[in-house]
Symmetry: C2
Subunit: 164 residues, 2 copies
DNA sequence: CAGACCACTTGCATATCGCAAGTAGTCGAA
DNA sequence: TTCGACTACTTGCGATATGCAAGTGGTCTG
């Protein structure tokens, strides 16, 4: 995953940086699940990522400029991870990945709701979501629309429907 | 990479199937480079994929329904690999991957030309390309526009510029 | 009928993955 | 002030994946 320098093809370089089982899962959890610390990412991991793998990926993602790390002012031992602009620009990629997975794998219905909404919303929705992420992670002004709220509401509605 | 069944999230399922260093590189070469046989994929590999890894990925991609395999009628020993519809629907994903890599890694200028064109063309270009792939790989009628020709021409133009 | 070509396979060293357990320090309540 | 929970990890180790180099059995070409 480190710089092997095999080829200058942008698709290949993206895969060298992100082409593994876990990197984008971690980005997804920070992005869509707003998990901001090691503990949250570990405990609330849908896929039960191993602690050493998580530590390694946080290190790599930070080193490669997709995440930043800063101490939590309210707790001397806590660390807050934030997305960088480069990571925020992965939104369309993850949206497409969700859309493809929805069509060509057998996803659970509840967990597909967000992907479906993102797919239907298209670029305008992605841009609104990216604006919101810039607010949450980079200190940009809060936008009017909360896409994460919409996604979460849709997910919870699907959950409620399921349990009925 | 096999079915671990960790979570029904469509992004995760996509990563379980394609989240490794080589799978999408192979798909990319079949898709954009029109490499249709093991030998072509091995010899013309920009990234010098190892022969056993290539064999393994071709097996997996075929097993998971992204490629099909059929004998070459003109050569008893040759095998032709084709993209399935599921693989063709990875076009937008690969386009985004190229676009992201172009912005956030240090790609070579010549190899970025295709990614740039794909990014500028957007969904209409992707759809035209997918139509062409359906012709080349699934036997659909030949569309009027040849996106692969346009991409190839742009690449060769960039190469010529470089060597001047 | 020899030599190149075809699609792989095999052996083996190294790297990575992933489970389970451990570490060193901090915080909050009794 | 002390104890237990919580913080972000690290460590050990077996299992799996990667990747180089060489080999295999068959086919086509001059």
């Amino acid at each position: 995953m480190a710089q092997t320098g095999r080829s200058g093809c942008p698709i290949n370089l993206t895969l060298e940086q992100l082409g593994d089982r876990w990197s984008l899962v971690v980005v997804r959890d920070v992005m869509f699940g707003n998990r901001r610390s090691y503990g949250e990412l570990l405990a609330q991991s849908e896929e039960r990522i191993a602690s050493n793998i998580l530590a390694d990926r946080l290190k790599r993602l930070t080193a490669s400029g997709l995440l930043t790390r800063r101490p939590d002012p309210t707790h001397r031992q806590k660390v807050i991870y934030s997305l960088t602009e480069a990571a925020i620009q992965l939104v369309p990629l993850l949206a497409h990945m969700g859309a493809w997975g929805r069509r060509h794998t057998r996803p659970s219905k509840e967990l597909s709701v967000r992907a479906e909404l993102l797919e239907q919303g298209g670029a305008p929705l992605w841009n609104a979501f990216m604006e919101e992420l810039r607010h949450l992670h980079l200190g940009a002004p809060r936008p009017a629309r909360s896409v994460s709220g919409e996604l979460q509401a849709a997910y919870e509605k699907a959950l409620a429907k399921r349990s009925r």
